[in-house]
């Protein structure tokens, strides 16, 4: 049995098998497809999830987001860690 994952700045997040981020043409929206669940992520969540490719670490993802949206780094780091921890607790993110 694996324990609860703690997301840190050095974590390398990815979507586990069985969780997919897809653009759906019928709704013209991004959707997260998971075991017997469908989520409609908001724009910020989409920007984060698209970068969870199993290569970039959280630090790198935060750097990119800060540049793309010219937002303060501390705030972005807090938001990204919070969202990824929540998703990891729901089995939607692995590291």
């Amino acid at each position: 049995m694996t324990g609860r994952v703690q997301i840190a700045a050095s974590s390398v997040p990815r979507l586990p098998r069985g969780v997919k981020l897809r653009h759906d043409s019928a709704r013209d929206a991004w959707v997260v497809l998971a075991p017997e669940r469908v989520f409609m992520p908001d724009d910020i969540a989409v920007e984060i999830l698209r970068r969870c490719d199993g290569k970039a670490d959280v630090d790198g993802i935060v750097d990119e987001l800060c540049q793309a949206f010219s937002a303060p780094r501390d705030q972005v780091m807090t938001d990204v860690l919070g969202m990824l921890q929540d998703l990891a607790d729901k089995g939607m993110i692995q590291v």
């Binding site: 609860r4 586990p16 098998r17 069985g18 019928a26 497809l33 075991p35 017997e36 469908v38 607790d89």
Partner: protein
């Protein structure tokens, strides 16, 4: 802005494809109708593929292959491959007793995204008795290990009732041990076969309340390890469940013979008629089919639902339960404390749960005739 905009029908999210009603198990709470569909009435491969294509075009994101036992269909890998190739998220809902490693690998290769395995209890003897299948439990446990070994995400589904509810803690531990990432704890919903077996299944209020506390504690303790989804025992609840997330709002169900239902139990509402995929395009059925239109929105509601602040939250509850208990599908679900029938519903539940459990009426073709008889009168009040 105007009326048509307000009535715009959103695209469906999921398709429940009931490939067959055949099943080696005989669970007395089976969600299939009492009138099981015969094998010679089942849709062929090409028709199912066309249904999946139409569902995809309509906006369906997830296709759930179910039954009966869907692995009885030799074309299951072909159907999964087809659904996956057009971009459907594919899920297999199975009892697991007919699968082995080689078959699992074929399904995974075909593009299966996720597998949901049912268990009947944590203890073999009881599980085999409830499912009416010899040695089923051991087969399921062996299969669960193969599922995770193949790398497929696994959900365990456990239907709960008075004869296994006291083992819920063991079922949660077993799910973790088997490597499941998700557990569905679903109290029996009482229509069809389960309604016939209600007295053998209904838990006591104390049992139900203990289960709620236990699940809450486990959800907290197992964060990031096991997601537990919980379907509450609604006879003892205050408000009804928001059945199907709203009638005709998210889900499409296609039966083995091609009937299109808003929910898998909708055929218990004998006043409804259902379109068939062999006669009409799926889009037309979704948008304009009489059964889908019957309980969309809130205009069909009577009081106390019509003016209720929760009408968009729980949609008046379950139409099948309203029909089964009140005799009117438009009635408020009697599970709701605001229903005039609620006290009667609770009284029956408490009486049945307090009495000795009768034998199961197992779900099988032999028992269809017995099931067609009216339910035994509730036990007289002491």
């Amino acid at each position: 802005m105007n009326a048509p905009a307000a009535r715009r029908i959103p695209p469906p999210v999921s398709l429940l494809a009931e490939l067959t009603h055949r099943c080696p198990l005989q669970c007395p709470y089976c969600s299939n109708p009492l009138e099981l569909e015969r094998v010679d009435r089942e849709l062929d491969t090409a028709t199912w593929q066309h249904v999946i294509d139409q569902a995809h075009a309509l906006g369906v994101l997830q296709t759930h292959f179910s039954g009966g036992e869907p692995t009885l269909r030799p074309d299951l890998p072909e159907l999964i491959r087809h659904a996956a190739s057009i971009g459907q998220y594919t899920n297999l809902i199975t009892a697991g007793v007919l699968l082995d490693r080689a078959k699992l690998e074929r399904l995974a290769d075909a593009g299966l995204d996720h597998l949901q395995l049912s268990i009947q209890d944590s203890r073999a003897e009881s599980a085999n008795r409830i499912g009416g299948y010899k040695n089923g439990h051991a087969k399921k446990l062996a299969l669960a290990k193969e599922v995770t070994a193949v790398g497929l995400p696994l959900t365990i589904n456990a239907v709960m009732h008075r004869q296994n509810l006291d083992h819920l803690d063991e079922i949660i531990e077993l799910s973790v041990e088997l490597g499941a990432k998700r557990l569905e704890v679903a109290h029996v919903q009482y229509y069809g076969w389960a309604l016939k077996n209600r007295a053998a299944l209904m838990p006591t209020r104390a049992q139900a309340e203990a289960a709620i506390d236990l699940v809450k504690a486990a959800q907290e303790r197992l964060k990031g390890v096991l997601v537990i989804d919980y379907v509450v025992p609604d006879y003892y609840a205050r408000y009804p469940k928001p059945c199907m997330g709203g009638w005709g709002k998210q889900n499409l169900n296609v039966t083995p013979s091609g009937k299109v239902l808003p929910c898998h139990a909708a055929e218990t509402i004998t006043t409804l008629t259902f379109d068939n995929v062999k006669d009409k395009p799926l889009a037309e059925i979704w948008h304009r089919g009489a059964a889908f239109e019957a309980f969309r929105g809130t205009e069909w509601m009577a009081e106390p639902c019509r003016s209720c602040a929760r009408r968009e939250l729980d949609f008046g509850g379950c139409r099948c339960q309203a029909f089964a208990f009140a005799g009117q599908a438009e009635a408020t679900d009697p599970a709701c404390t605001l229903s005039p029938l609620h006290q009667e519903l609770v009284a029956i539940a408490e009486r049945e749960a307090g009495a000795a459990e009768p034998d199961f009426l197992y779900r099988n073709p032999r028992n269809i005739q017995a099931a067609a008889l009216p339910a035994p009168a509730p036990l007289p009040a002491e």
